[in-house]
Symmetry: C2
DNA sequence: CCAAAAGTGTTTTCAGTACACCCATGC
DNA sequence: GCATGGGTGTACTGAAAACACTTTTGG
């Protein structure tokens, strides 16, 4: 029996969740988009397979993964029996800048507008997104996702998507600032309409709180 | 490569978490206590292996399982390479009454006083307990765990163990009763020291709230 | 009547919510 | 100067926390 690891790499761009997918070049599911995956060899742990997968296929390292569910339906792969184990990571946009994205082989997709997906990867992605939506409420995850120079309206937009509800701007600011996690950089955002927003960074040492 | 499912069946007795373990009869780890487990055959899903395991080894059915983590360290089994996938269930004490418990082959152990465990099962149990401690805060889980005729001090004791803090009796009652989940049966507990406690049952239809 | 544990009510405190106006920029 | 989005303060409401005495049983 074979085991594969499936990796969901998620990020946030303009307050929207995006996931990294590869286009499959061979049958079955040729031309469909799929999660990066790798068969686990006998002398590898799952974590080693995941790291191998992202470094060989994507050239990424330093990502941290969270384990998700195992998928074991007998027909999930039409050609052979493979049990898939999902891993999830949240990456800041800076980390993903090294990737060469295009329409043909590798791209980021909004989780609300996914392309045609191969295998059972649609179900796997849905589960991964749920994991991340819980994790995003921890301040340490936010810190990883927003390395520096973010604005409060950006973070608020993300929470509104995660929580599927609008939040009052004043109350959001009050609560977020009271958590004592971030500090002003002194600069302001540029290039948007309207009044520029203050830029913030996370403090060096923060407590790992649960927000919202 | 082989895959096994490992099942952690947890229950609460006298406000304390207990886990069901079997004593291993053969080498390696002969005489140690281990989680019930089963190798996943090629024509089985993980869920089928779990159900098979609990029905053949324990004679239990109707348990619902939650998937936990996969454990894949190369040396987690000294005799062969096996990747283990953990499943967790919470059972009410009535369901476990059919089991024949003894010191030799099958018993319940408080998670704070575990016996000598084989393989990496100690780590697996610790992870399972964390899963259950989150799940126990949902009212539907509580309802499964306390079929009828429980007292509020019992539930409070459990929460104090889960949350690792003492709770004020008056505030606990106020909050729990306001959640509108339970009703008095009219009877009282017997056989303890002090004033008997009122017995409660969960209402037929309850909302699945998050408590505490 | 004494010990042990369960039941009950009031006050305070703090977080959450609702809400309206002013401010800094680009055009 | 106007449109756009960002920043700020205040009053209200409801849940959580702190707290002490009475009640019911068994011995």
């Amino acid at each position: 029996m074979q085991i594969e690891t499936l990796v969901s790499i998620l990020t946030i761009i303009d307050g929207e969740f995006k996931i990294l997918l590869m286009r499959k070049k061979t049958e079955p599911y040729k031309g469909y988009w799929v999660l990066p995956s790798m068969i686990v060899e006998k002398d590898m742990t799952l974590e080693e397979a995941v790291n191998d997968c992202v470094s060989s296929k994507l050239g990424l390292n330093k990502l941290e993964f969270e384990q998700g569910l195992a998928f074991s339906a007998l027909d999930r792969n039409p050609s052979k029996r493979v049990i898939g184990i999902s891993f999830v990571s949240i990456a800041d946009s800076r980390t993903l800048e090294t990737l060469e994205l295009d329409e043909e082989s590798l791209n980021l997709f909004s989780i609300d507008r996914l392309p045609k997906l191969g295998y059972d990867h649609s179900a796997i992605i849905m589960e991964s997104v749920e994991i991340i939506k819980h994790k995003i409420r921890q301040s340490m995850t936010l810190k990883k996702l927003f390395p520096s120079d973010f604005t409060l309206p950006e973070i608020q937009k993300m929470y509104e998507q995660v929580l599927k509800q609008d939040l009052d701007r004043r109350n959001f600011r009050k609560k977020f600032l009271k958590a004592d996690l971030i500090e002003e950089t002194g600069d302001k955002s540029i290039g948007n309409n309207g009044r520029p927003a203050k830029l913030y960074r996370f403090k060096e040492e923060i407590e790992d709180k649960l927000l919202f």
